[in-house]
Symmetry: C2
Subunit: 301 residues, 2 copies
């Protein structure tokens, strides 16, 4: 492929990914409009956390994975929403005073600052339940949907996101090895990212070799994503990232740059991305998955 064709193809992929973002944003804002019996303030807090403009990386991964296996986007709309809802809930809880005690998220006051702590805890709790409700709302392809629920629930549980956050909190002020740091992030952010790409695969009923390829892809971009986050925390512009600079250091959190330096972190991130791209080369149509992997390392926020 010539350089010009490559650039054109990347531009097309990027444009397609942006349509996915619009799609999930529209779906999410519809979902949280009428829930008759729910108290208004709680719904407001859920909307506040969920409908803030975000990168929507996880739903994009879900749609890109669906395209890769020739699934219609409609088939994974619930999965795309569910994974972003889980992400939104986890951010609310991570920001709480008892956790990372963050005041700012995506450039706006965090949920417990905009509302109050109790409402923030409940909004997170309710969002988690809502994600599973969405996945269970229709029983067409019931056994595939059950498998998606299992994938997502495992990704959220003690051996997934919640476990990773527990390790993260315990690691404050501690010296972690690179292996331990990677293990923590494989649970804390990696589990949900892997779930985002694996849910469509399970819906499409792909074979074990394909599942393994996707798992490797999700694992590598999950780590690369985290390294990029860590680097942005050191070198990023708070106006663009929407977060205070040096927040990790202030919290005495071990990060990739603090452990191996910014340059080595950068190198490691690019290696991981190349591994992720190689892993999915064997799949039917990995164009968008590859484009997403490249986007993850180039983003500024």
């Amino acid at each position: 492929m010539s350089a010009a064709v490559q650039i054109e193809s990347r531009r097309e992929s990027h444009a397609r990914l942006l349509t996915f973002r619009d799609r999930v944003n529209e779906l999410l804002s519809k979902q949280l409009t009428d829930l008759p019996a729910a108290p208004e303030r709680l719904l407001e807090a859920m909307r506040y956390a969920l409908l803030t403009p975000g990168k929507r990386i996880r739903p994009l991964l879900t749609y890109a994975s669906a395209e890769c296996f020739g699934l219609a986007l409609e088939a994974v709309d619930d999965a795309a929403m569910a994974v972003e809802i889980i992400h939104a809930y986890s951010l609310i809880h991570d920001d709480l005073p008892a956790m990372d005690d963050d005041d700012l998220r995506r450039g706006r006051p965090t949920c417990h600052k905009a509302f109050d702590e109790a409402t923030a805890i409940l909004a997170g709790d309710a969002l988690q339940a809502f994600a599973f409700e969405l996945l269970a709302q229709t029983d067409s392809s019931a056994s595939q949907r059950l498998r998606m629920i299992k994938i997502l629930a495992q990704a959220c549980g003690p051996a997934g996101m919640a476990g990773g956050q527990a390790i993260d909190l315990a690691a404050v002020g501690q010296d972690l090895s690179l292996q331990q740091l990677m293990h923590m992030h494989r649970l804390k952010t990696g589990a949900l990212i892997r779930a985002a790409v694996l849910m469509p695969a399970s819906l499409a009923g792909v074979d074990d070799a394909n599942l393994e390829a996707l798992t490797t892809y999700g694992d590598r971009i999950g780590l690369a994503f985290q390294i990029r986050d860590d680097i942005l925390d050191v070198t990023g512009d708070p106006e663009v990232t929407g977060k205070k600079s040096g927040a990790d250091q202030a919290l005495e959190k071990p990060t990739f740059p603090s452990l191996i330096g910014v340059d080595s972190s950068n190198r490691m991130m690019h290696e991981l991305i190349e591994e992720s791209v190689s892993a999915v080369e064997c799949l039917n149509d990995p164009t968008l998955l590859v484009a997403l992997a490249r986007y993850i390392v180039s983003r500024d926020s």
Copy 2:
């Protein structure tokens, strides 16, 4: 039925319910033993909250409902565990400093006192995910299982338990009408109790008339259960209840006794129980459901 036969029959029902309690206790303690990738302290907090001796009312309701429709107990083991796991998670979060700020639960330090606040939040979060994972762990009767997940997720969400807790917190120091108080409890405790009896019914594929009967049953015992809790808070022995006496009053929470007095509350509770019993008379074998309804109003803790 003679009085002697009635007493004998009640004794038998009670003994059968106790075997359900043993059953769910054993299953729960097995479930939380080996989760290889999960951090130990988080698992400990989950076990601490879940494996404390409790009444296990919700799993008992699930098993009683299953028997009523001729289902094998094995068929609803996951549902029985899931509903108790959700209950345990909700207690952890309700007890948090930002919520009810309770130090004591079932006679022992609350989870955030025994561990720390962050671990308690995460243990609750992880338990919620774990409940849905359990329900999705096998795809036999996939569409019925999906319906169970939907029932449970709705019961936990903004129009269920989380919504009820939000109303409860907003009600502190406020004057609620009896209608508003009932609405709050229908969400806060009622939704999960209804889910406990409705999950087996959905597994058994019962018709709408039966579902309606069960919904009424669950609704009435849910409210009666709450009234009994409120009365125990005023008149109960802390040594037996395991909670501080007068905790609701100290928190300025509106309760049934504070609104209509202890005597009227008692009367209302007994009326609700009679309504619950009438509702399920039409069902195939409501013996255990009736026994449970009677137990709920007679309990001292």
